[in-house]
Structures are given as structure tokens and as C-alpha cells.
């Protein structure tokens, strides 16, 4: 194993040298490049390439390799993480963005170029993706140890990471769309990891198809912007949009269509239905793909093309209500409500993710770019932590249901404390990561006069605190309700938890009020932003979180709430039924669209095909054959053949008559001949005379 590690490192280092040589083409000395102000940004392509190499190696040589192939992914992501951190420090130090062009091609009058663009936003995404992915790679070594298709799991994990990085590094919408779809297919493969069970593969298909509906919208949005700007280049399109070079109507259409893609990928209402089902995949996958990275692709898309959205929807202080804001607000509330009633711990977290994504979308909808991106950043940390923590619990009790858990704080102290920190961060406990990012969003909503968003945001914050308190209470407090003897998870799983817990506590301070931190390092198009202290937002947010936590403790920890409310009070009962049935959206989609297409409509189409279209073809064939044949036969029999037959018949009859003369007796013939000659002679003589 050591040898393999060494060889992987040497591969990585030789690749590094290759990068240096590539950079040297720009006329600079290799060493100088590596020491330049944005030198590590030039290694960004390597971060993208490494996971792809890891994927290929794992796929083809994985089963014969050390650690059953996990070595490649771990090495690739480890190296990628180191480079990303170096890049992060460089952009935080004010390094200029670096733009790397690959090849261009012509698709009939339009130049399409491919390339990477590394600015601070991209680098932040790189840091998040490689960090979470690396931790998940480590964590899965233990979590997936006894699971089926370990090697394939790692291969797909690497492919996912590579595709995600490809997407965030793209300098143009087309290439971004490629990465966007590739992460979708990886998500499909990983959700359906346990494909022996049909519900899991169905969940995978549901995720793929639902997001693909959004993707089609996004694709059309790309078309609109492409023809408006004449390029796929993100910088070009946004520059033109900001300068008013694109007609407002077209820009509005393009932005709205792009946003359909966001609705699909980032699980916004009404296409959020796939994300809870996606929990069928292994828990590390949920942490990586369905919490920290892939689902924020939509946020990334809007944030990356913010000039398009800002101009199209007139975002900013006092701007009109817009579709982004509305969808985000609806989503954060309905998902938070759904999280209240789930028994499956992963589904609680899944709905929580949907809700937090709604927060980010709403933030973008009110024009709070930095706040949304910062929330993306902190959410990735604590939500990945929560998912990995829930994985640790599930690993111990062999069940997803909180009704099988309880009282685990003693058996699993590390998991408990880290999970508690994650929950507190999510609930917005002051000082932790979630507090700062949520505060930023509420502050913006309030100050840009989006009071509806502000109000619903507060309500959601309270609900979030409530359901997380419920989740922690049911899982870690009370009596153990499951079977067997749960015990703490191995180091490989707890160390990532601790790392993420530390980050969940600390990253919030990167954007401390008045500090030139996150908002200065990660700025959109140079618009630096320093968080301001705002007493209204801070107090309201804190109060909402406190109310939620106290309510949760009252109901689930102290158990002081009146029992049986759900059964006795009709509106509660109705609401509960509505939530348990997920607002009947799934039923509507399945019964209203999927089943009809799958079974009824398809049958009708095929019936039309066989009976009508093919029926016409066959009918024409048969009729041609029959009618033409009949007609020809009649013609043949009566007219053409009739004549022939007549001749033949006459000849036959004549022959029959004459046959009697032919006796076969030569003497008779001669007699006839003689008589006939005699007659002839007499006739001739008579005539001559």
C-alpha cells in the first residue's frame, strides 16, 4: 500500500511538472510561475483533472489495487484539497482571476470555446467541493467497508467530484451544462447504489428525470442567452447583460428559463420532490451530493450569472417581487414544515437541505449575493456534518428511523457532540456558522424591503430550530428504542466529523460584522461587501432560533406539551395528514403525469402506431395486392387469356374432329392422297380448259 501511495504521489508530482510546463508556454519561467501572484490558480486544471484520472484508475484497476481502489480517489482528492487550499489563500490575498482557454470549435458560424476561469468564487467552490469530497472519501472507507460494489462506489464518487469541479470551473455555459448533466448522472448512479431493491432504483430514476426537466429549461435559457450575446462565454454574456446590450424581454426569458434548471437541480418547489427520495443512496453520498455540493449547483448558476438575473429581475433595494425570490420563499417554508413530521433521520435532513436551499435562492432573489454564497459555504460544512453524523448513527443502529434510536449520547459521544454542534449551527445559535450567514440574509431582506422574505425567513428559522431540536432529542436523548448494542463509530468516521464540527463553529467568523473577510475575498465582479451589524436582523434571528429551540425542548425533551393534540384538534390533524402526504405533490406527479405517460399514453400511441398508421400501411399493401391482383386477374382471365383460350379451344375442337381421319394406316393416307391428287388434277385440267 505504501508503494502504491508513493507511486500515486509520483504520478501526481509528474502531473504537477506537466502543469508547470504548460504554464511555461506563456513565456514565463516555470519556477517564476509557481511563485507568481496567482501561480497556484494555474494549477486549477489539475484539481479538475485529478478526480477524472482517479475515476478511470479506480474503474479499470480498482479491484486489483490497494484499498480496493479507494486509494486513487483519496490520493486525487487529497492532492486536490491541498491545491485548492493554496488557491483559496491566494484569492483571499487578492490574486487576480486566472483564465485558461482550451480549444475552440465552430458549430456553423458560431465560435464555441472551452476553458476554465478561476476567480475567487470558483476557488471557494473548489475548496468546499474538494474538502467535503475528501472527508467523504475518508469517511466512506469505514462506512462502506462491508457494502456491495465498494470499488464502483469510489469510482463514481471520484467521477462526481471531477464533474462538479468541471462545472464550477467552466468559463462558458455550454461546458457548465456538460458538468451539470454529468453530476446528475453520478447522482443517479449513487442514489441507485443499492439497486437490488426496486424503490432505490426508482428513486434514482425519479431524481434524474425530475432534474432533467429542469435541465431542459436551463438548456433553452442557454439558447436564449447564446443567441442574444452570440457566445456561450459567461463573462461575455454577463457583461452584455449588465451594460444593457441585451433586450430586457429576452434577458427576462433567458433568466427565467435558466432558473427552471435551478428549480430542478437545487430542489426548489415544485420540483423538490426528488431530493427526499434521493436519501435511498448511501449516507456519505447524501452528505456530499445532496447536501453540500450538487444541489447547490443551482445557487452557483444564479450567483455565477448574477448580472443576468440582476438586470432581468431588477434585483436590489426596493426591487419588484420576482420569481427567484417567490420560489425560494415558498420552498424554505414548505420544506421546513415537511421536516417536522419525518421519522427517517435522513429525510429530516433532506427537507432541511431543501429549506436551506430555498433560503439561498430567496437570498439571491433579494439581491443578496454575498449572503447567499456565504450561506452556501457555511451550509456545506454543517449539513455535511449532520449527514455524516446521521450516517454514523445509522451505521450503529442499522436503521434510518428515529423511532429505532434514542439515548445514543452515552454510547456515541463523539457523534453526539458533533451532531449537536451541527444542529446548533443550522438552528442559528449565535456564534456558530449558520448564525452569521442567516443573519446576513435576513438583514438584506429587511433592508431591501422584502418584508415577506424577512418574515418567512424568520418563521423558517424558528421551524428549523424546532425540527433540529426534535431530531436531536429523538436520536440522542431518552431511552434507546432499537435493537442490539450501538457503539461509537471507528476513527475513520469520527475524525471527519470532528473536522467538520470545528469548521462549523469557526467559518461563520469569516464574515464577522465589520470584518474585511469573506465578503471581500469572495466578491462578485469586484463588488466587495462587508457585513454590517444590524440589531433588528440579529435580534429577530436569534429570537426566532431561541423560540424554536425552546418549543422543541418543551415538546420533545421535557415532553410538557399536551399529548394527543394531533388526534383531538381537527386542523392539526388535517395539517399533519397534508404533511405526511407531502402536500400530495408526489401523488399528483405520479398519478397525473408519470403513470399516464408510462402506461396509458404510451399504450395509446402504440395502439395508434399498430392499428392506424401501420394499419394504413398494411391496408394499402393488402388493398393494393388484392385490388390490383383482382383487377389484373380479371383482365388477364377474361380479356387477355380469353382470346388465347378461344384460339386454343377452337384449335382443340378442330383437332378432335380431324383426329378421326388419322388412323395410322398408311394405305388409307395414300388413298386420300391419290384421290385428292386426282381431284386436283381434274380441277386443274377443268380450269385450264
Amino acid at each position: 500500500m505504501v508503494g502504491a501511495l508513493a507511486s500515486s504521489v509520483s504520478v501526481a508530482s509528474s502531473a504537477l511538472l506537466g502543469a508547470a510546463e504548460a504554464a511555461a508556454e506563456h513565456g514565463e519561467h516555470a519556477a517564476a510561475v509557481l511563485n507568481g501572484p496567482n501561480s497556484t490558480l494555474k494549477l486549477g486544471w489539475l484539481v479538475v483533472a485529478l478526480p477524472f484520472v482517479g475515476w478511470l484508475l479506480t474503474l479499470f484497476f480498482g479491484k486489483r489495487s490497494p484499498m480496493r481502489g479507494a486509494i486513487y480517489g483519496v490520493t486525487a482528492l487529497g492532492a486536490g484539497l491541498l491545491i485548492s487550499i493554496a488557491m483559496f489563500f491566494q484569492v483571499a490575498g487578492g490574486a487576480a482571476p486566472y483564465h485558461q482557454k482550451f480549444y475552440t470549435f465552430d458549430i456553423g458560424g458560431y465560435e464555441v470555446s472551452t476553458g476554465f476561469s478561476f476567480d475567487s468564487f470558483t476557488v471557494m467552490m473548489f475548496a468546499v467541493v474538494t474538502l467535503i469530497s475528501f472527508l467523504v472519501h475518508i469517511y466512506s472507507l469505514a462506512y462502506m467497508k462491508d457494502e456491495v460494489r465498494f470499488t464502483f462506489f469510489y469510482a463514481t464518487l471520484s467521477l462526481f467530484t471531477g464533474s462538479m469541479l468541471l462545472m464550477v470551473a467552466s468559463d462558458n455555459l455550454l461546458q457548465m451544462f456538460v458538468g451539470w448533466e454529468l453530476v446528475g448522472v453520478c447522482s443517479y448512479l449513487l442514489i441507485g447504489h443499492y439497486w437490488e431493491e426496486k424503490p432505490n432504483s426508482s428513486a434514482a430514476i425519479k431524481a434524474f428525470i425530475t432534474t432533467r426537466i429542469g435541465d431542459v429549461g436551463m438548456m433553452f435559457g442557454i439558447f436564449v442567452l447564446f443567441f442574444a450575446a452570440g457566445t456561450f462565454d459567461i463573462g461575455g454574456i454577463n457583461g452584455l447583460a449588465a451594460s444593457g446590450g441585451i433586450k430586457h424581454g429576452i434577458l427576462l426569458a433567458g433568466a427565467t428559463l435558466l432558473f427552471i434548471g435551478v428549480i430542478g437541480k437545487s430542489a426548489q418547489f415544485p420540483l423538490h420532490v426528488w431530493l427526499p427520495d434521493a436519501m435511498a443512496g448511501p449516507t456519505p453520498v447524501s452528505a456530499l451530493i445532496h447536501a453540500a455540493t450538487m444541489v447547490v449547483a443551482g445557487i452557483y448558476l444564479v450567483a455565477r450569472n448574477f448580472d443576468v438575473f440582476r438586470t432581468a429581475f431588477a434585483l436590489g433595494p426596493g426591487g419588484p417581487a420576482n420569481v427567484v425570490m417567490i420560489i425560494g420563499t415558498i420552498t424554505m417554508l414548505i420544506a421546513a414544515l415537511l421536516a417536522m413530521v419525518q421519522d427517517d433521520i435522513k429525510k429530516v435532513l433532506a427537507y432541511s437541505t431543501v429549506s436551506q436551499l430555498g433560503y439561498m435562492v430567496a437570498a439571491l432573489g433579494v439581491g443578496a449575493w454575498t449572503a447567499a454564497v456565504f450561506h452556501l459555504f457555511t451550509h456545506a460544512m454543517f449539513k455535511a456534518l449532520l449527514f455524516l453524523g446521521s450516517g454514523s448513527v445509522i451505521h450503529a443502529v442499522h436503521s434510518n428511523n428515529m423511532s429505532d434510536m434514542g439515548g445514543l449520547r452515552k454510547e456515541m459521544p463523539v457523534t453526539f457532540w458533533t451532531f449537536l454542534i451541527g444542529s446548533a449551527a443550522l438552528a442559528g445559535v449565535p456564534g456558530l456558522a449558520g448564525f452569521f450567514s442567516k443573519d446576513e440574509i435576513l438583514h438584506f431582506a429587511f433592508h431591501n424591503h422584502y418584508y415577506a422574505v424577512f418574515g418567512v425567513g424568520l418563521l423558517t428559522a424558528a421551524l428549523t430550530a424546532l425540527y433540529m431540536t426534535r431530531c436531536v432529542s429523538l436520536t440522542f436523548f431518552g431511552e434507546f428504542r432499537g435493537h442490539g448494542h450501538p457503539h461509537e463509530s471507528p476513527r475513520l468516521m469520527t475524525v471527519p466529523l470532528v473536522v467538520l464540527a470545528v469548521l462549523s463553529v469557526t467559518v461563520g467568523s469569516l464574515n464577522f460584522w465589520g470584518m474585511k473577510g469573506f465578503g471581500v475575498w469572495i466578491a462578485y465582479a469586484g463588488e466587495q461587501h462587508v457585513a454590517e451589524f444590524d440589531v433588528v436582523a440579529m435580534l429577530a434571528g436569534t429570537a426566532a432560533g431561541a423560540i424554536g429551540i425552546l418549543l422543541g425542548l418543551w415538546i420533545y425533551y421535557w415532553k410538557k406539551a399536551p399529548q394527543g393534540l394531533l388526534d383531538r384538534v381537527a386542523p392539526f390533524r388535517w395539517a399533519h395528514t397534508l404533511l405526511m402526504n407531502k402536500y400530495y405533490l408526489d401523488d399528483l406527479y405520479i398519478k397525473g403525469i408519470v403513470r399516464p405517460v408510462q402506461y396509458s399514453l404510451s399504450k395509446v400511441a402504440y395502439w395508434i402506431n399498430q392499428k392506424i398508421i401501420d394499419g394504413v400501411v398494411n391496408g394499402v399493401g393488402v388493398m393494393t395486392r388484392k385490388a390490383l391482383a383482382e383487377a389484373t386477374y380479371w383482365l388477364d382471365q377474361t380479356v387477355v387469356d380469353g382470346f388465347v383460350n378461344d384460339v386454343a379451344n377452337e384449335a382443340g375442337e378442330a383437332g378432335g374432329a380431324l383426329r378421326r381421319i388419322q388412323t395410322g394406316k398408311a394405305q388409307q393416307y395414300v388413298a386420300v392422297a391419290v384421290v385428292a391428287t386426282a381431284v386436283l388434277v381434274i380441277a386443274v385440267v377443268w380450269a385450264v380448259r
Binding site: 395410322g664 394405305q667 391419290v674
Partner: protein, 102 residues
């Protein structure tokens, strides 16, 4: 008048031949009758040749020689057929040979 008598002779011979062909049942006699008819034709040819004062009598004589030669061959084949029929049917009666009808 000399031509007339020759033609009379020829006609008489031919009539005897026809009579023989038509009425005799014996195939050999039919063949002999055919010979008679052929010779009647030969006499005719020579008679006309002389009467037409064909200076060298060449044409008529050439025809006659031809006819004699063919007749000889014909009789040869004829006798052979008769023999074959006799072998098959143990008879040379011409009215019994009627298998050539249709």
C-alpha cells in the same frame, strides 16, 4: 405419236403401282409397287427428254440416274423397316401397323 405411246406405258405402270400400294397388305409387295411407280416416272422422264430434243439428253438422264439411286436406298431402308416390323409383330401386313396415329 411415239411420245404418246410411251406416256401410255408409263401411265399404265403407274396405275398398277398405285393399285399395288393401295390394296396389297403385304409390305414387300407395297414396296415393289412403289418401285413400279418410280419406274413409270423414269420412263416419263426419258420420253419427254427425247421428245424435247434435248441435244445430249443429259438432264433427263441425270434425273433418272438420281431416281434409281434414291430408289435403291429407299428400298434398302424400306426392307429394313419391314424386317424390324416383322421381328416385332411377326407380320408384315401394313393394315396392322397403325401405331403412328395421333
Amino acid at each position: 405419236m411415239r411420245l404418246m405411246s410411251i406416256l401410255m406405258l408409263s401411265a399404265a405402270l403407274f396405275s398398277i403401282g398405285i393399285y399395288g400400294v393401295l390394296v396389297r397388305r403385304n409390305a414387300v409387295l407395297v414396296l415393289m409397287s412403289i418401285e413400279l411407280m418410280l419406274n413409270a416416272v423414269n420412263i416419263n422422264l426419258i420420253g419427254f427428254g427425247t421428245w424435247l430434243r434435248d441435244t445430249a439428253f443429259v438432264n433427263a438422264q441425270a434425273f433418272v440416274l438420281f431416281v434409281i439411286a434414291i430408289a435403291a436406298a429407299e428400298v434398302g431402308i424400306g426392307i429394313a423397316i419391314v424386317l424390324a416390323i416383322y421381328r416385332n409383330k411377326a407380320s408384315i401386313a401394313v393394315d396392322e401397323v397403325d401405331s403412328m396415329k395421333w
